[in-house]
């Protein structure tokens, strides 16, 4: 036993050294960058705004992962395709409305329709996914539904590719949303305001729903203990479907926000945001709704600011290339010190 504890110490020491090295690099890099003074305050603020807007979208997608994870203890890998299905389908409507000029004249109604279509399609895909691919495997070992999810993810990607074609489709540009609000050094586009506000509203709404509503409480009960929840008269299947519906609708909404911000949609568009959102969910503490928000914001801001802040001062060429490497390194750092995420509780320690 003594030998064991000694070796455990060794690994702890190594971990500490890894952590300290990363921190040192971050601190030295940041100090050097700031000292060089190559970037203005306004540029830093801009970077933060970009990060928050991107982070909002990550957070919305992350909610889908976190909700399903909380209830089924499974990584719904195909959630990224739920996110893709909505805006990819709604594109045709948006394109038609954009060409006819309807969208510019009735912006609000037009956006509402696009949101409605996208959210509906994403929700339907999520429900079908649950019904066909996941429900029969509810009690299978963890890895089995994971593989099903991966398979479903491939299937959905290429299904939509076959349906709508492989090339990039471009959402119409909405001139109004390009207007800029200026507050001192801070510049925010209406579009960014829309994205951040819509995401925040939806997340707060979800939080209230889960905390206050009867269904929300039942969701929490099911997340904690399915058998006991069933003994309370809660229909587990129904709650799980509701979870997928909420996750799907949020992903559909996030998809439209994404499409408004970046304009391009195609069959593979969900893959990278999906991975990022899943990372955000873990970063914040998976199974935890506010955690998804925090994780999403953190990731968005790190991706935006990180490479410049940490690496520019160290004279690293093309640091933006390494933004994902930075994000994942910080993820490891966070998990070394908080093994269950920023806001995560002991859930990770529980046997999944």
């Amino acid at each position: 036993m003594r030998r064991f504890s000694e070796r455990l110490n060794l690994t702890d020491v190594i971990m500490f050294i890894i952590g300290a090295l990363i921190l040192l690099l971050v601190v030295v890099g940041s100090a050097a960058t700031l000292y060089a003074g190559k970037y203005t305050t306004r540029q830093w603020l801009d970077l933060v705004v970009f990060g928050v807007a991107l982070g909002s979208i990550y957070a919305l997608i992350a909610l889908g992962y976190t909700l399903v994870y909380g209830i089924l203890r499974m990584i719904n890998f195909a959630h990224s395709e739920v996110f893709m299905a909505g805006p990819f389908t709604a594109y045709f409507l948006a394109d038609a409305m954009g060409k006819s000029g309807f969208l510019d004249q009735n912006l609000f109604v037009g956006l509402l329709i696009i949101f409605a279509v996208s959210m509906t399609v994403s929700t339907i895909v999520a429900i079908l996914l649950e019904r066909i691919a996941y429900r029969p495997l509810r009690f299978a070992p963890r890895l089995v539904p994971l593989i099903t999810a991966i398979g479903a993810s491939f299937f959905l990607q290429y299904f939509f590719r076959g349906l709508y074609g492989p090339n990039i489709k471009v959402y119409p540009e909405i001139a109004f949303l390009k207007n800029v609000i200026r507050i001192g050094d801070l510049n925010i586009q209406y579009l960014q305001v829309l994205v951040i506000a819509a995401a925040a509203l939806m997340m707060i709404g979800l939080q209230i729903f889960i905390q206050r509503s009867r269904t929300g409480k039942a969701m929490r009960a099911v997340a904690e203990d399915k058998q006991t929840a069933a003994l309370m008269g809660i229909d587990i299947d129904q709650i799980i479907v509701i979870t997928f519906v909420i996750g799907g609708a949020l992903a559909g909404a996030a998809g439209v926000l994404y499409a408004l911000m970046f304009k391009q949609v195609n069959f593979i568009m969900g893959f990278i945001p999906g991975i990022k959102a899943f990372t955000a969910a873990v970063l914040g503490g998976i199974g935890n709704v506010p955690g998804a928000m925090v994780g999403g914001m953190f990731l968005g801001i790190i991706e935006s600011i990180g490479p410049t802040l940490f690496l520019d001062g160290l004279n690293v060429p093309a640091p933006q290339q390494l933004k994902d490497a930075i994000a994942f390194t910080l993820l490891v750092l966070v998990l070394i010190f908080r093994p269950s995420g920023i806001l995560g509780e002991k859930l990770a320690q529980k046997k999944a």
Partner: protein, 414 residues
């Protein structure tokens, strides 16, 4: 039990043998070619294979080149020397192992006379030597990496109609420095071999000319380009050259004006985004942007006719990307070479004998071949593209009609 099974099996073989014995007797042609010959029976087709990326996220590139080559076959009436042309192939996946697998499958098929491929340079590195070992000739419509035609490493029988990055990158730098008279530029690549090489050649050439150039990079799949553009903005460049593909190029171009400091910066792209889809992906910011690209104006109408045919045939697919013209030329080079009596011997009964080494030699000797991408002349290293690079500029009319400009504003060497 076994006896009966054996009997049936032997019967089947016997039937097969009888059928074969009734076939025509061997023609008098003797193959003296160093690499051997492909014999094509009177009713068989001339088999040309492709190794293109037709699956996954890069499939647009593969389909574009495939369609370009198919139109070349159509233009010949689908026939060469009275034999139908069979053009099929393998998915090469835009990665090294896909290139190797596709090349091996092509090499294994002894009916194939020529190969068009590959799309991505990484496919050609392991793929080209395999094609070479099989004695085949391969022309790539879209490999641009300089090392593929590096004399020390080039696989025999490897040619390309796409422009070597060295040529295009240097020409673009020359235009920016000499014509626009800019001295401070930035370039962004996406980590792909094509864009990385082009961006670096551009930056190096620009520095050699006496200017200042910064190289930045993003990753394939990145959407938010504002952070990298903010970094670029800090260097206050006069022009940003981003020789990337449509998705990432679209993001950069569309987000460019949202970044303070870049409101007026000139944008320039390369042939990878010289396509109407890019105009859509970027939006109105694209007006005034420059593109380095092969000089399509050299043959009035030739290129436009190709585009028209393409859109007519494949409109629904709308995969129009930049390399169909190179593929069209590559296919035409093969079809022309195959018709050359030095390459193909035709028997009286219509049987064809394609001599592999002769095909290689004829392709290598291509000189002044009139293609839609210019006058193709193969140099000893396998680069056949017309080294004339032109620069085009997109105006408001181009944008509203989603068509690419037809006349370049600058040509190299003028």
């Amino acid at each position: 039990m076994k006896a009966r099974f054996l009997f049936v099996a032997m019967l089947a073989v016997a039937i097969g043998l009888v059928v074969s014995a009734c076939g025509p007797s061997t023609p008098p042609f003797q193959c003296k070619d160093k690499l051997g010959c492909v014999d094509i029976a009177p009713n068989d087709s001339v088999h040309i294979a492709y190794a293109f990326v037709t699956s996954g996220e890069n499939s647009t590139l593969g389909l574009d080149t495939k369609y370009g080559a198919e139109i070349a076959v159509d233009d010949k009436g689908g026939k060469v020397l009275g034999h139908a042309v069979k053009f099929d192939g393998q998915d090469s996946g835009c990665n090294a192992e896909g290139g190797q697998t596709a090349a091996t499958k092509i090499a294994a098929d002894k009916t194939i006379v020529a190969v068009i491929g590959t799309n991505c340079s990484s496919e050609a590195v392991p793929g080209a030597p395999i094609i070479a070992n099989a004695g085949l000739t391969m022309i790539s419509p879209s490999n641009t990496a300089p090392y593929l035609t590096d004399p020390a490493k080039r696989a025999p029988g490897y040619f390309r109609t796409a422009h070597n990055d060295k040529v295009q990158g240097a020409a673009a730098a020359e235009f920016v420095f000499k014509q626009l008279k800019y001295t401070n530029v930035a370039t962004i690549h996406d980590g792909g071999p094509y864009t990385e090489a082009l961006a670096n050649v551009f930056a190096d050439s620009f520095r050699k000319l006496g200017g200042k150039a910064v190289v930045e990079a993003v990753n394939v799949g990145d959407k938010d380009m504002k952070p990298v553009l903010t970094r670029v903005a800090a260097g206050k460049p006069e022009l940003i050259y981003f020789p990337v593909f449509i998705a990432e190029g679209g993001f950069i171009c569309a987000q460019m004006r949202d970044v303070p400091g870049l409101e007026k910066t000139t944008m320039m792209g390369a042939d990878g985004i010289f396509s109407p889809d890019f105009l859509k992906a970027c939006g109105k910011n694209v007006v005034g942007m420059y593109f380095s690209s092969p000089d399509f104006s050299a043959f009035a109408g030739g290129y436009q006719a190709l585009v028209d045919k393409y859109l007519k045939k494949y409109n629904q697919k709308s995969t129009l990307a930049p390399f169909h013209a190179h593929a069209y030329d590559a296919m035409n080079m093969f079809l022309t070479a195959l018709e050359n009596p030095a390459v193909t011997v035709k028997d009286a009964d219509g049987t064809l004998h394609v001599q592999k080494q002769a095909l290689r030699d004829v392709i290598a000797a291509t000189k002044g071949f009139k293609g839609v991408t210019g006058n193709l002349t193969c140099d000893p290293t396998g680069d056949c593209a017309d080294p004339k690079i032109a620069v085009y500029q997109v105006n408001a009319d181009n944008f509203s009609s989603l068509t690419m400009p037809k006349n370049p504003i600058w040509k190299q060497g003028q």
